[in-house]
Symmetry: C2
Subunit: 421 residues, 2 copies
């Protein structure tokens, strides 16, 4: 027969397990961030390499690929650690979703060597290579998203949400770099192009806003410092040029690419800082929880094994009982107080977690609407996303609002007949 | 280096672990239901025993207590099983909350023998004994609530939500029995009394409505059959009598008590059926998940270890690639399809789970408002609840609406100074 005290400790141990798990996941998120950054650079080089028919970046691609491979090994090792530990701590539905995301992205990493060979052989169009890298990066970011969504500590969850949004914003900035470079090099500037460019700018701004909302002062300051006024002015000037119809201009395209690259590279310092903060917070929280557990154990060692039992019905009786002896009883901090304190703390954490997690809903709504379109219209994910985005641009509404309307109308959507029936 | 296939399987194993855990929790919920029912009977007997100064139910209390003790042993054994298994599967924040609820209720079970001795010695007022049992039952129901809130499978979660609401509705019915018996025996019938009576009726009706919304046809039919027209007519007649000022009437009080008891005992058949359904559903789900895992493993054994990799970038390239060779490629059901299917299934489950869990929010809001009152006004939980209920009755609003207003105004609440500073 186990006493209430054991469950007080068991609850604490559960929290510590969850924190240990979060520390591993956060470590992995940091490694993913570094790999994504390297892949973004490789994507940029591959884009120019293909566009220049192998003329440019031929020498730099090799070292960049080597860096990607090294970072990929770290990410794979992180995946393996999670898998090895899974029976100890992950459990529950969240672990399943995280693993499912990893299962999705690993074939993408496996397919990288073949992709690189096709780029070496100049077998792909620049846009094809960019889309392939973007798909892989999206898969890696989905792992980070799941880590943020599954975090059980609100403070760590806040940092993971900031981190995810920063990485996603940076990815939109990378896509804008590729898109703008092609647009300026080709020189057309129609309405559709301008709309898509604006979409990439607005998407990244929204992500960075969430990042700012969820970050501490130090990181926020670093972010503002990293975005130098000179680079931002140049960026806006080139964006303006891109928005007006200009003739094809290889030099302008190059200037754009370099300006974006300076900006994106500067972002990496912010991401490294976020990643270090995350690691420090996990260490701090874990150490704190362990020392509190030790204090619990010591305190409980001094109490009778069924302490607290005698007092349980006290306040229920007090409501009717007015004898002063009852009211005057001052008791040492009892097991009941500790349990109540723990329970209130857990409740407060859970409430705060719900609030933080709500910020992730926007993406979930878009994903859900995409899934609906894929099922109802038999589209690929890329096609579904394109269709949603097109509707948003046509209606001048936010992507998430279009997605929400679509979900609300789900029952009215016709089901496309299955092919080859 | 682990392949995507391993993570596909790891995700499935996570789900199975979570289902095993849910099966244990559901078993425990059934045992708690039986104990609560026995405690409700003991409460009713103790109430009459004390009110009649030991004259009535003196003989029946002994066997009832023996039944309670036996059922308590089953519940404690269930707690212990959860604790013993915790390092294998619970994990995460949810386990901590469940254990914290158990830590809270165990001292209550420990304190039962002392409570019973005081009742034997006629040292308590009937209302005191009723309040003490009600507090213990509330603690047990909080464990059931946490089990429902932490469930990771939407279908099982639906049944747990139905079960919790049924148990909570039945507990309100039990409180109404005690309240009405005292009211009819004492014969006063002021406004406050009528309001509190109405509150108990409305609370139970709301719970039973949620139970009906979340139950299958079979259980719903059983519920309607269990509430015989004759008993309901008698119940409403006595409620009407209670609502008008009548003189003290011991016989009427007795008729009320018997009528309520018939109704509540009939409820137990419904609860047993719910409990059996829950067990069957858990068994079914676990068996299904295991056989699917086996099928996965067999299928994956026939594939190359890095299958799927070659296809990962296909659709990203297709967007630009229009060669018919690409489009005509019909491939066997690949790892990528399985991963995508799993990921969509997990996402759908998670969405459905959010919907089911939303039905638990009402109680969470009330709990949060109570916590706020306890902190700001330094009230006990019982006092905070009474204050909220009183406000709701005065303003003729629902408890949850008052709680919501209170939370919205949290920043404006004055903080009561700490005592003895």
């Amino acid at each position: 027969m186990t006493s209430g005290l054991s469950f007080l400790i068991a609850a604490r141990r559960c929290e510590i397990d969850a924190l240990d798990q979060l520390a591993r996941t956060s470590e992995l998120v940091g490694a993913i961030g570094r790999l994504v950054h390297a892949l973004q650079r490789e994507r940029g080089m591959s884009n120019v390499f293909l566009a220049s028919h192998g003329g440019r970046f031929a020498d730099q691609r090799g070292p960049q690929i080597a860096e990607c491979l090294a970072l990929e090994q770290q990410v794979r090792a992180g995946f393996d650690r999670l898998e090895a530990e899974h029976h100890r701590a992950v459990g529950a539905g969240h672990g399943a979703r995280l693993f499912s995301r990893i299962a999705w992205v690993l074939p993408g990493l496996d397919a990288l060597p073949a992709l690189r060979r096709r780029i070496d052989a100049l077998e792909l169009q620049p846009a094809q290579a960019v889309a392939a890298f973007a798909k892989l990066v999206a898969g890696l970011l989905a792992v980070v998203f799941e880590a943020a969504d599954g975090a059980t500590d609100p403070e760590i969850s806040r940092l993971l949400v900031a981190m995810f949004n920063f990485m996603q914003g940076k990815e939109f900035a990378g896509q804008e770099r590729a898109f703008g470079a092609a647009a300026l090099a080709l020189g057309r500037g129609d309405d559709a192009q301008r709309q898509q460019w604006r979409h990439l700018i607005e998407s990244q701004e929204r992500c960075f806003q969430v990042f700012i909302d969820f970050s501490g002062d130090a990181v926020r300051t670093l972010w503002h410092d990293s975005q130098s006024d000179a680079v931002l002015a140049e960026l806006e000037r080139l964006r303006r040029k891109g928005a007006t119809s200009v003739p094809a201009d290889a030099l302008l395209s190059q200037a754009w690419f370099d300006c974006c690259t300076r900006r994106i590279d500067a972002m990496q310092t912010v991401e490294n800082c976020l990643s270090a903060d995350l690691r420090a917070l996990c260490d701090h929280k874990t150490a704190q929880a362990r020392s509190e557990l030790a204090a619990y154990r010591q305190l409980l060692g001094t109490l009778a094994p069924q302490a607290g039992g005698a007092l349980f019905f006290d306040d229920a009786q007090q409501a009717q009982d007015t004898t002063p002896a009852q009211l005057g009883r001052h008791l040492e901090r009892s097991v009941l107080d500790m349990v109540q304190e723990q329970s209130q703390r857990l409740q407060a954490m859970s409430d705060e977690l719900d609030t933080v997690r709500a910020s992730l809903n926007e993406r979930k709504i878009v994903e859900r609407a995409k899934g609906l379109l894929m099922a109802h219209r038999r589209l690929s994910e890329a096609e579904a996303h394109k269709m949603l985005r097109q509707t948003a641009m046509n209606q001048k509404r936010r992507l998430v609002d279009v997605a929400e309307s679509m979900l609300a109308m789900a029952d009215y959507l016709p089901l496309e007949p299955a092919p080859r029936r």
